[in-house]
């Protein structure tokens, strides 16, 4: 069980729902099909959008570091941080 329940898009204010739907579209899914890590941020879609944008320009940035290496770093930090998710 999560700390806060995960809201459905229909529960959100129209402006918030629009932000949520835009991010979901960029992720290639519908809001209800987003990964839990994104749905967990959907009470405040502007925060979700800020994190999505930050991710695009860091973890997902196609720079000099290969994707596999970044995934390995992510796994290592999560292991060290006892992050079960």
């Amino acid at each position: 069980m999560t700390t806060l329940r995960l809201p459905t898009p229909e529960e959100l204010e129209p402006a918030d729902r629009k932000v949520l739907e835009d991010v979901a579209k960029r992720l290639g899914v519908t809001p209800n099909k987003m990964s839990m890590i994104w749905r967990a941020q959907s009470h405040w879609p502007q925060h979700l959008e800020a994190n999505h944008r930050q991710m695009l320009y860091s973890f997902r940035f196609q720079g000099q570091i290969p994707t596999l290496t970044k995934e390995a770093m992510h796994a290592a930090v999560s292991m060290t941080n006892r992050c079960e998710f």
Binding site: I37, Q41, Q54, S58, A72, M73, A76, V77, M79, N81
Partner: protein, 188 residues
């Protein structure tokens, strides 16, 4: 990681780099090691652990210390043996066995050396260890030739991991799957 095809051995390599680096972070902080990269510096203060001179070592420990000195020249770009290893040498067998583990864990396997060096940097940064962050940065700069932009790309990625770990902790998110096997991810 399994989906990306590194297999259970590859995930085990990531875990090995993570635990090894986390352990070295704890060691460096336990001994309060000052950062001696790139310039050598000796510990000071009444309670500092004084490093062992390489000439005092014999046998396997002397061999390991000579290997570290050779490696540090290319791997870290320095002509001295880092304090981490000279301090550990008070227990010569511990120093030698830790060096053997370092070579095993950080050498290319399912993941190449560059990827493992990035993983070690990520863990040292996350653990906020000044010594090991400097050590792993020197390794990336020297042996992998990373420039400023690449270093920021790495640091920015670590920032993202910590942010999302915090969200998953705060929301008590449960993993989507448990007891995963590589075979679960083979394309059918």
């Amino acid at each position: 990681m399994l989906r990306l095809g590194v297999g259970e051995r590859g995930v085990s390599e990531i875990l090995a780099v993570a635990e090894h680096t986390a352990g070295l972070c704890a060691l460096a902080e336990s001994l309060r090691l000052p950062v001696d990269l790139p310039d050598p510096i000796e510990p000071s203060g009444p309670y500092a652990v004084r490093p062992v001179a390489p000439a005092q070592l014999e046998g396997e420990a002397a061999t390991a210390m000579a290997e570290i000195k050779d490696w540090a020249r290319d791997g870290l770009g320095v002509d001295h043996v880092p304090l981490l290893w000279r301090s550990l040498a008070h227990l010569p067998r511990l120093m030698a066995s830790t060096w053997r583990k370092e070579r095993l864990v950080m050498s290319a396997g399912r993941l190449d050396e560059a990827a493992k060096a990035c993983v070690a940097f990520a863990v040292a940064s996350f653990k906020q260890s000044p010594y090991m962050t400097a050590y792993t940065t020197a390794r990336l700069r020297r042996s992998q030739g990373l420039d400023d932009k690449a270093m920021v790309e790495l640091a920015g990625s670590v920032m993202h991991y910590v942010s999302f770990n915090t969200i998953s902790h705060g929301m008590l998110l449960e993993p989507a799957a448990t007891e995963m096997r590589a075979s679960d991810f083979v394309d059918s």
